[in-house]
Symmetry: C2
Subunit: 193 residues, 2 copies
């Protein structure tokens, strides 16, 4: 079901996916054990809001949902459907709002195919570690847009776990502010892309 | 003994220090558990050789020494003295070559002050994790030059350990090749520098 570049096809067409993340310059996704991305700069927050507007759905793990729960529940919208990847969707039955906020378990590929079948075209993958790792391992994240903040934390969650070995091309580079960088990577294709 | 910017003064003057590192885009300094930086691109290797020529000494940990041992022993020179930071300098007595290759234990500040007293002026700090962490915690690494390779490893050594909380300014940005970036950071000063 996966075509070149990691786009997933559904009966109504394909859905393209991009991983979006903000990290410290030493590769931490969180400030130590604090949940959320309170360390992100204003420049990254502005960029994140702006870029999310170009997606019609987002996918993220239950940890990421919990860290942003109030903000998410306060801004539900059909225009950008949120899908939470969790082992226990049943825990969230009271929060489920069709086409706005849904909770799904199982393979990411199946979830994306379902979104494609329902007409969604662009999905932002927002982490955390387990989801990013699953997507990379399944070839479902052909693009990775990384904001690098000029901070060092030493400890914190990481973007990926397990032993991976994946190469990218640097497609685009943008300075979001004097000190904050946005790096847009694309998976290096098997044909020496 | 530490002055503004982390330069260490000795009787003959000060010595400036820069941390230099190559990492994967997910913040790994090694490819999984492999020692060394075999993953570094040709562009980074060429840059690294070139930039090291601007230093008259380098400081690195025993792990880093072991990973590059043959290359180091084959290129000893007074022009760029190497100092290995180790808990057990006595293990390396047979390798010690004054002004070319020395093995030292103890506080990094004392080692740098000794280098300054002996007329050395620019020291590149090359890792690993324990040395980078000690230098950052002691304010002895005012600059950090980070090469980011377009690869993801998921697991590997990290640049820092412990809980740190240090801010930098992005001073300079250079594309070493189409896909490899060099980011030069400077410690953000207490006076809002």
């Amino acid at each position: 079901m996966t075509s070149a570049g990691g786009a997933v096809a559904g009966p109504k067409g394909g859905i393209s996916t991009v991983g979006i993340v903000v990290m410290s310059l030493d590769g931490c996704l969180t400030h130590h054990q604090e949940e959320g991305v309170g360390f992100a700069s204003e420049a990254d927050r502005a960029y994140f809001d702006e870029v999310l507007d170009t997606f019609d759905c987002t996918l993220f793990g239950a940890g990421t949902f919990e860290a942003r729960r109030a903000a998410i529940l306060g801004t539900l919208s059909r225009r950008r459907m949120r899908v939470v990847w969790t082992r226990t969707p049943s825990r969230y039955l009271d929060l489920e709002r069709g086409e706005m906020l849904e909770f799904r378990s199982g393979k990411v590929e199946g979830i994306l195919a379902d979104l494609a079948a329902r007409g969604r075209r662009r999905c932002a993958i927002l982490g955390g570690t387990a989801l990013f790792t699953a997507c990379l391992q399944s070839g479902l994240m052909p693009e990775l847009w990384v904001t690098i903040e000029p901070v060092v934390f030493g400890s914190g969650r990481r973007m990926f776990s397990d032993c991976l070995d994946t190469s990218f091309r640097l497609q685009r580079l943008r300075r979001l502010s004097e000190d904050t960088l946005l790096l847009e990577y694309r998976l290096r294709g098997e044909a020496g892309q």
